[in-house]
Symmetry: C2
Subunit: 565 residues, 2 copies
């Protein structure tokens, strides 16, 4: 690819991924969404044409533009309509909603594509001098408002795309690390590593369209992170260009030399500096992943088994547990409903009346993976569950990155879809879960739009697990944002008030800023502000995010002056 | 025990541990130390009597004393000679040397023992108002100058003992965590946990005399941390009393809510606040640990095998690899030398001419542990090494905490003993090792006192390993400190210049401050200063440590005004 090809947006401007993957909603899902949520099957609200999208005029003057072009080169400064639209939002539900409404009031004034650290430093200097906010932008898949061009008191804002930082600099087979630049996309990284029989093993659902820089700066976690470890557990070296200078953190497996500086930049979401290089642990790539599934009679029983096995180090690489409703939703759609009926009858016959499905994945050599699967089955002896083989896992792995496409289809039918996630200790998991479900459903009901809401556990730790929620809700025309923010608020506050975190792996951005404050307290939030002041004294980097994010969702989405944010 | 018993020092004032464990130097060691280092077997420099030790007069005035007594209660303010001597230094070689010289110029003016967070806050307030430095003190086992009562610009200093924070608050068998106060000693914690069949699994060599607070605040690592994980990988909740208020970090297995605040206080060494509670991962306690040993023909070959196995997740819980000289030192002492001779002949016969010993420990049930040991042996097929069974491991486990006692015996014979450690990536391990050995030996030779210096790998990570050095050197009367600091400097600078860390698990304190600056750079060091300014604006907490530590060892130990530090 040429350099101009490399920096072309990979996603369609109005939704997830690329065209051609949208599928109709399955009949069983239509039935559930109609019955529970009141979906109107005839609804049809397609996205507008990009040419018809209205955006704010650029606030940059000729001198700004000249200075920015001077910093990165003419060809790597872009302010055309399409590029500005593409860099306005991330890919959260409210982002998609606003894109579809077709009026963008906070498109960045321009996008710059620096090609090396010097150019990054130059861009920062220009923006400090000319009072322009800089929004770091990689794949743009944030679902927390992390890449949105809010200005935070500035009158001008540009996005700084990392996509020219696209080199895989070194694959070190001795230390089993890869040194990689932030603009490398997941599939490109894995393709190159695959040639060497290794993998980073980092597969967030956004894998196809997200970049290493996003993973590292947002403490991302992937579908196999219970096995390979979250990205923050795998970064051993880092380079960051901050307004105060370059931080160069050598590759280090472990150290007691004070607080770990790597940890402070993991999760800093571009507010302290621009990550320009990371050295990340790689792993031997398994020849195969083979699957199995077990059905428990309740989420509670399944969680208890997951806890016990995890703490004995017996849970495999990949382990997911769906609650009753998520399992029901999945079963209902099997084979057009018929296979689901048979399966349900069989499970009932075996004493599983309210099935909760666990999908397990075993990686390794062809023989070893299968042997591990059978060894795992021995651990399940005496537990109240039914083993049902690899089918569920095979379906899951085929569709592991495709769910986000479904949102676009649903939204055309005026159905809101969102996901959110938390984490807590095992002893608190069910308590927290009950509060989240109760409070989210109450928020939906208050709008007269009941949720279809389900949950799974996808990440396990010795001390606890993640809880990941998906919900559907009928949109009321003109009230969508209020519906969404009430449900989101209910979930976040339930997490904060009952011992969870406001985000297990989506990052903070703007949407989780209210939660962050409750979770870690004012003292820590104020300290993050002091850190920001230290590294970015003029405050140009990703303003009004993380510690400086909105005090509430209402403040964010109902602000009268979106350009100020 | 009564409360006044609880806060009594556990160690003897002049050396490691308690009386009654000192053993004569074994004949084989005498021979080596005489031949290589020029040890004088007739040398005898015992420590002085504590009553004869001279200390600086207390700088506190009557108002200071009244205010501190008001904060903690009369009985928990101490300024008697013995208690002040006990809290002057940690337990590094230069600490022991200075204790033995019997002239202490920086004894803390008093020691306070707050009993709850309010009292900690009150002590801080008093000290801020009255300009008194506060040195947090747990077990006092620091080997990096971390608990030394340097004043950093203040005229007065007190030690704040954490020993009344001695409660194990909750053992949570669901989350498998223990919530514990910082003043709890290793053995007391493990005894209580053992009743529940669980363990923290944290066994630094200082285990008997170090506290949880020290482990957490210094990012400690234990002998079994390759299996259980370093302390920083196991802390999921934390409370810290800072001069700016209390930081209360909920128990959280994992989160993406910005930089992890726990990580910032892990390794903060009391310069930002006083840790008052930590929630730490616990683990099922194995019924037994069984051992095995293998002898490789070189350190290089052993490291290569360790790397390969670690990256395949096949290295057991405990794995240590001694270099040629450490192995030689151990073998020579077996059975008064005779058994060692037989063993050497046997190994030579098997083709191992320059043996490097690996000790492996397998934990679990009685059957499982032995099965794992045999399964491990299968992995060693085809590798150039000789298996020699459990004896070496059984000796190691018996003596795992006793080596520090040996220093006291050696120093009575005018032999300096010190240990130091680093960490690097696998590909750099031998390169770094060669530089460290070369530079340390050159520094010893420059004084005309050759080192007997050896090394082992005791902590492994997927990307690298620790390197742990022990050396012996004849002391030249009056030149000891210069000898030591030249050797130490040589080691630290070799680590910094060749891709290591200045400390893998001993912390920074003062002795590693020069290394810290090189390692993470001025930008990070300056940021730590900004963090200090934020949390401790008056700078009373553990001044002149970590980011504010001495710029060189020479500056530290040759300072004309030790009270200023």
């Amino acid at each position: 690819m040429g350099i101009q090809e490399d920096i072309k947006p990979r996603m369609r401007w109005w939704g997830w991924g690329v065209d051609g993957f949208d599928k109709p909603i399955k009949p069983a899902a239509v039935k559930i969404l109609t019955d529970v949520c009141g979906m109107d099957i005839d609804a049809n609200t397609p996205p507008p044409n990009v040419e018809d999208v209205k955006i704010n005029p650029s606030a940059l003057d000729a001198d700004d533009i000249a200075a920015l072009k001077e910093a990165v080169g003419d060809e790597f400064f872009k302010d055309d309509h399409y590029t500005r639209v593409m860099h306005t939002y991330g890919r959260s539900y409210p982002d998609l909603l606003r894109l579809r409404l077709g009026v963008l009031e906070i498109a960045p004034d321009a996008i710059v594509y620096p090609g090396n650290e010097d150019q990054v430093a130059k861009v920062i200097k220009v923006c400090e001098e000319r009072e322009i906010a800089i929004i770091p932008f990689g794949g743009g898949t944030s679902v927390a408002g992390g890449v949105e061009a809010v200005r935070g008191g500035f009158k001008k804002a540009i996005s700084l795309s990392t996509l020219r930082f696209n080199k895989i600099k070194e694959i070190n087979k001795d230390a089993m690390t890869v040194t990689v630049e932030p603009g490398v996309f997941g599939p490109d990284l894995e393709e190159e590593l695959g040639k060497h029989g290794v993998t980073v093993g980092h597969f967030p659902q956004s894998f196809e369209f997200s970049t290493v820089g996003g993973w590292v700066s947002c403490r991302s976690s992937g579908q196999e992170s219970s096995g390979y470890g979250r990205i923050d557990k795998n970064v051993i070296g880092l380079r960051v260009v901050t307004p105060k200078g370059v931080l160069d953190l050598r590759d280090m497996p472990s150290s007691a030399a004070g607080p770990d500086p790597r940890e402070f930049f993991l999760g800093s979401e571009g507010v302290l500096g621009i990550i320009t290089e990371a050295t990340i642990q790689i792993h031997h790539k398994p020849d195969v992943m083979v699957f199995d599934s077990y059905f428990f009679n309740s989420f509670e029983e399944g969680i208890e088994v997951f806890r016990e096995l995890k703490q004995k180090d017996q849970l495999p690489h990949l382990a997911r547990l769906s609650n009753e409703k998520e399992t029901y939703f999945g079963i209902e759609q099997l084979g057009g409903g018929k296979l689901g009926e048979v399966l349900t009858k069989y499970l009932n016959f075996r004493g599983i009346d309210t099935p909760c499905m666990a999908v397990l994945g075993f990686g390794g050599g062809h023989v070893e993976a299968r042997a591990e699967r059978e060894a795992f089955n021995l651990k399940m002896i005496g537990k109240n569950c039914v083993r049902l083989g690899p089918t569920a896992g095979n379906i899951w792995v085929k569709e592991r990155f495709t769910s986000p496409y479904l949102r676009d289809v649903m939204m055309t039918k005026n159905i809101a879809v969102d996901t959110l996630e938390t984490c807590t200790t095992w002893d608190n998991a069910l308590n927290l879960h009950k509060h989240i479900i109760h409070d989210m459903e109450a928020a939906g009901n208050a709008h007269g739009t009941p949720l279809f809401l389900f949950c799974h556990v996808s990440h396990t730790y010795q001390s606890g697990c993640s809880l990941y929620y998906t919900y559907f809700m009928n949109e009321k025309l003109g009230e969508e944002m209020q519906q969404w923010s009430d449900v989101k608020d209910a979930a976040t506050m339930a997490m904060e008030n009952h011992g969870g975190t406001c985000t297990h792996h989506h990052g903070v951005g703007q949407d989780h800023a209210p939660g962050l404050r409750v979770e870690n307290g004012d003292l820590w939030t104020d300290f993050l502000r002091a850190a920001k002041k230290f590294y970015d004294p003029k405050g140009v980097l990703n303003p009004a995010k993380l510690q400086d994010g909105p005090v509430s969702l209402r403040a964010r989405y109902e602000d009268d002056d979106p350009l100020v944010g």
